[in-house]
């Protein structure tokens, strides 16, 4: 770790403006960090040449006074984003060798703002997972370790590689995507800020689809301000995405520093789930106290259908996925296995190309949409989803934000929770409801568990009110004064 890689994105950007170092120097420092961190398996494709070429161009623009919002800033890009000429495989075997001839809207906007891609980051296959264990590239490793315990931990998922990379200082920020918690949960596991914007805020064009009605891109960063900066570059209407919303993109960073005075913060009783560790409940209470101390008013609220969010999600998301993943058939791109005939080619290609969790979800999704089961499963789930969204709408009539924990536990060890899919799914119990309702939500690092692992607090906001979410997140960030660093930065993984 060098001084340059330990800067926040905002600090690094300011330093570039002051010419304290060049974009090339900043990039080289991060390249060295990526090279040293290969054991973390956070980055699945290194794009150093491209980053350096981009950095040189950034230096010219910085010199010419034409620098963009994220000029010269090295970022990690989740492998779910299609990047022109660079592998974009959703960390799935079935997309072997796939190099898009096109650039996703979000990454295109990032490059237009001057950002640089240092590499594609590891993830759960097709974003299905909460541990990064389902990646065809093998698991990414969390740079954090429990105190006095050398077991390797998961970084969370599905944006696990992005979280591990930002936490290990391999890049100043990274893109993630969040379908049921895939930005927020890994952010919590890795001590980062992870922001899922309102559904429709960032274009989904060029992002490999998992569950179309839920997928949303967002930033993983080390500070709330960095998240605000990245979101500004990523967000915006896109005529190529019918669900993209045409509403102006505010200067999110400008909303910071205003505090939470007078805000009403909803504390939903239903989030006190059975078996939630005391330390997480304590942190949650602490979060409410911090906001209160800053002038906000915590209010007990009810979101009565919270317990149905997770089963709803595990019908809706696999159903959409079963259809979205039908295009991986060995005809136009990616893996193709030989078969006796076309049908056999399909079945063999898809059996070999999809990992276990993806196969499981595609089968569940196929089942819940099939004749005779659609009404009982899929249709009922979409109705319950309406009810859950209505709960939030009613709650937001009396509060500005909802505060919850991000995840029911800290990062777990590789190999844990692998036997029971439902135990794994429970990781997303606090993040899924906001996803179902399409609401903006953020995870902020707020403290450490008894064994020294980061824990996150979670704020949910009103549609397109990312500014209020970020303001309150900054208040939590300041109050928590989270300064702990992952073990990786101290010892490079050596015990």
């Amino acid at each position: 770790m060098s001084a340059l890689t330990d800067l926040t994105l905002a600090e690094a950007r300011a330093g570039l403006d002051k010419r304290e170092y060049s974009a090339v120097e900043l990039t080289r420092a991060h390249i060295a960090a990526v090279e040293a961190a290969r054991p973390l398996n956070a980055v699945v494709a290194e794009t150093f040449d491209r980053a350096l070429a981009g950095a040189a161009a950034s230096d010219q623009r910085l010199g010419a006074g034409e620098a963009g919002l994220l000029e010269g800033v090295p970022l990690g890009i989740k492998d779910l984003f299609c990047t022109e000429g660079v592998r974009s495989q959703a960390c799935s075997h079935i997309l072997d060798g796939f190099k898009p001839t096109y650039e996703s809207t979000v990454t295109r906007k990032l490059w237009a703002a001057g950002a640089l891609m240092i590499g594609k980051t590891n993830m759960d296959e097709f974003a299905m997972g909460s541990s990064n264990m389902t990646s065809h590239e093998g698991p990414a490793i969390n740079p954090w370790r429990r105190s006095g315990d050398n077991r390797q931990l998961v970084p969370g998922g599905s944006s696990g590689g992005s979280a591990a990379a930002v936490a290990a200082r391999l890049c100043l920020g990274a893109t993630g995507t969040d379908t049921g918690g895939s930005i927020r949960q890994p952010a919590a596991f890795c001590g980062l800020v992870g922001l899922k914007p309102t559904y429709g805020r960032c274009s989904r064009w060029g992002i490999i689809a998992f569950a179309s009605s839920l997928d949303q891109a967002g930033p993983l960063t080390r500070t709330v301000r960095d998240a605000a900066l990245m979101l500004r570059a990523m967000a915006g209407h896109d005529a190529k995405d019918s669900t993209s919303v045409d509403t102006p993109v505010p200067d999110y960073a400008a909303a910071l520093g205003q505090g939470v005075k007078g805000m009403r913060i909803g504390i939903p009783a239903e989030y006190r789930v059975d078996g939630m560790p005391d330390e997480i409940e304590a942190l949650w209470r602490k979060g409410a106290d911090w906001l209160k101390a800053a002038g906000a008013e915590p209010v007990e609220i009810t979101l009565p259908h919270t317990k149905y969010a997770l089963p709803t999600y595990y019908i809706v998301a696999p159903a959409e996925a079963s259809s979205n993943l039908a295009r991986y058939d060995g005809v136009r791109y990616g893996l193709r296995l030989k078969g006796e005939d076309l049908r056999d080619m399909y079945a063999k290609t898809r059996a070999a190309g999809f990992g276990q969790e993806v196969r499981r979800r595609v089968l569940i999704g196929t089942y819940v949409l099939s004749a005779g089961y659609y009404d009982a499963y899929y249709l009922q789930a979409q109705k319950v989803r309406s009810v859950i969204a209505r709960d939030f709408k009613q709650a937001f009539e009396s509060v500005d934000l909802v505060l919850t924990p991000t995840a029911p536990s800290a990062a777990f060890a590789i190999g844990e929770k692998m036997d029971d899919p439902i135990a794994m799914y429970l990781n997303d119990v606090f993040t899924v409801p906001a996803s179902l309702a399409g609401l903006p939500a953020i995870s902020v690092p707020a403290g450490l568990s008894a064994d020294g692992l980061p824990l996150g607090l979670h704020l949910i906001g009103k549609p397109f009110d990312e500014e209020t979410v970020l303001r309150a997140a900054e208040t939590l960030e300041e109050a928590a004064a989270f300064r702990a660093k992952p073990a990786w930065l101290e010892d490079g993984g050596a015990p």
Binding site: F81, C82, S88, A90, L95, F98, P100, T101, Y102, S104, R204, W205, G206, I207, I208, A209, A211, S212, S213, A239, K240, D241, S242, T243, A319, E320, S322, S323, L325, A326, R327, D329, V331, R332, Y333, L342, R343, Y346, T366, L369, S370, A371, Y374, Y378
Partner: protein
């Protein structure tokens, strides 16, 4: 073939429903900006969306929505202000996404009616169940290599309207009349060019047989019929096939069959799937389609006069027979041509000329009405010369032929060829006198009471006058002179 098949055990009645896929005449596809032109090189009219590349999303073509609504209005159908796009999931190499975007549970157009015109001048109403928008699939080519199928995605994503009829059709003739009428309506509103050869209009036939008046039997679906004639042949064959099965005590399989134009037979598709389970669900990439009632009304107001209304008007205004009126209104251009010719002339005469000589000559020359060498004004000019007795109807046919070949106007042709009708009594009397003088035997026979010879005498006078004598005058003069 009538709609009833006489089997060994008694009569069987055909029950037919048609699913028409009509390609919307749009420049770009339903969900992408790729072109729709026919006959392009393979995969040159394909966007990343049409090829279902990872991360690609559909955005609907507003013009196609408008055309579907206009078609629904032209079918007198209910327009749904709220409709939904669903995914129909199945695997096929020419369906890149593994699903077709269609409208299943909530289509944009509901119940409507098509009035079909039958040969005997009668009409029947055929119910329309629904019309929905959907994207076309690509094309699989099976004959380029023995061991492989080639896939061209140019058609993938082209906008289609699927128009589903009620099982109201009872014979091949009715099926033919239904397709022709629907095609005519689509062409009137300009939402589909109706070209069956290029596949812009495709037809799937659902057919079953039943004892008259009894409940419907099991149906078979026939695909791959790409002309009205083939469709009628397919129905005929399929009806016989089903009756044979039923009379032998068997049951008709609910299956999809392909029509083979070479043998005029149908056969079961070999690639039998397990029972289809399309797993329809609303496409999460698209929001529901919500239409503004005022917008729909403005489209309704902007519709042209449709074939049925035009036919009724032609009958009323020009005194045409329902058959002639039906023939004239089938194509909007023909109707317009007729109406322009009929303006200021005798309507029936104009109708006879347009549906008779003009249509015949155009068909022979392989030309459309828009390419007619005889313009509206010139055909009107010819009819004028008939009406003012300058030429006879028979000479007019000769004049028309020359006009059609040379592109000249009637008066020029009449003058050049000296075809002006002789109406001078003196000149006709001279010819009549000569004919009588040349044929004393026949004259004697006539005068002896053989009245039937009158026709023969008129013929001789016309011949001697090179057909220019006014036939009525020739008659009158002959009658007077022969009897005198």
């Amino acid at each position: 073939m009538s709609g009833v098949v006489e089997g060994r055990t008694g009569p069987w009645e055909m029950v037919i429903g048609l699913e028409i896929h009509a390609q919307v005449t749009s420049k770009a596809k339903l969900f992408s900006g790729a072109a729709t032109a026919f006959g392009a090189e393979p995969n040159t009219q394909v966007s990343l969306v049409d090829a279902a590349m990872p991360g690609m999303l559909p955005v609907i073509n507003g013009y196609c929505v408008e055309q579907a609504v206009r078609t629904g209005l032209a079918l007198g159908a209910e327009i749904k202000l709220f409709s939904v796009f669903d995914r129909k999931n199945y695997f096929y190499p020419d369906l890149p996404a593994g699903y077709q975007i269609s409208q299943f549970s909530q289509p944009v157009v509901g119940h409507g009616t098509v009035v079909i015109d039958l040969k005997d001048g009668s009409t029947r109403e055929i119910g329309i169940t629904r019309l929905h928008m959907e994207m076309d699939a690509g094309k699989s080519v099976h004959d380029l290599r023995a061991d492989a199928t080639h896939v061209d995605l140019n058609r993938s994503g082209v906008a289609l309207m699927e128009i589903v009829s009620e099982p109201d059709i009872r014979s091949p003739e009715e099926a033919g009349a239904y397709v022709r009428k629907l095609r005519s309506i689509l062409r009137y509103v300009g939402t589909c060019d109706g070209n069956m050869e290029e596949g812009s209009l495709r037809c799937d036939v659902n057919i079953s047989m039943r004892r008259p008046g009894e409940a419907y039997g099991t149906r078979a679906e026939i695909k791959n019929v790409n002309s009205v004639r083939y469709m009628m042949k397919a129905i005929e064959y399929e009806a016989e096939r089903q009756v044979e099965i039923l009379e032998d005590g068997g049951s008709v399989a609910l299956e999809t069959r392909l029509f083979d134009a070479r043998t005029s037979t149908t056969r079961a598709m070999r690639s039998k799937e397990e029972a289809h389970d399309y797993r329809y669900f609303p496409d999460p990439d698209l929001l529901p389609l919500e239409l503004d009632a005022a917008w729909v009304e403005s489209l309704r107001a902007g519709l042209p006069e449709l074939p049925d209304a035009k036919k009724a008007r032609f009958i009323e205004q020009f005194g045409l027979s329902p058959y002639d009126a039906g023939v004239l209104v089938a194509e909007q251009d023909s109707a317009a041509f007729f109406e322009a010719v009929a303006a200021g002339h005798d309507g029936k005469l104009a109708a006879n000329w347009v549906t008779g000589d003009l249509f015949g000559a155009l068909k022979k020359a392989g030309l459309g009405i828009g390419q007619s060498p005889v313009s509206v004004d010139r055909l009107g000019g010819l009819i004028e010369r008939i009406q003012d007795n300058t030429i006879s109807g028979r000479i007019a046919k000769e004049v028309f032929e020359i006009m059609f070949e040379s592109g000249r106007d009637a008066d020029t042709v009449i003058a050049e060829k000296g075809l002006k009708q002789v109406t001078d009594v003196g000149a006709i009397e001279a010819v009549v006198d000569q004919v009588i003088a040349d044929n004393p035997d026949k004259t004697a026979e006539f005068r002896g009471g053989k009245d039937k010879l009158m026709g023969w005498f008129v013929g001789q006078v016309m011949k001697a006058s090179k057909v220019k004598a006014n036939p009525q005058m020739a008659n009158q003069v002959l009658a007077k002179k022969l009897k005198g």
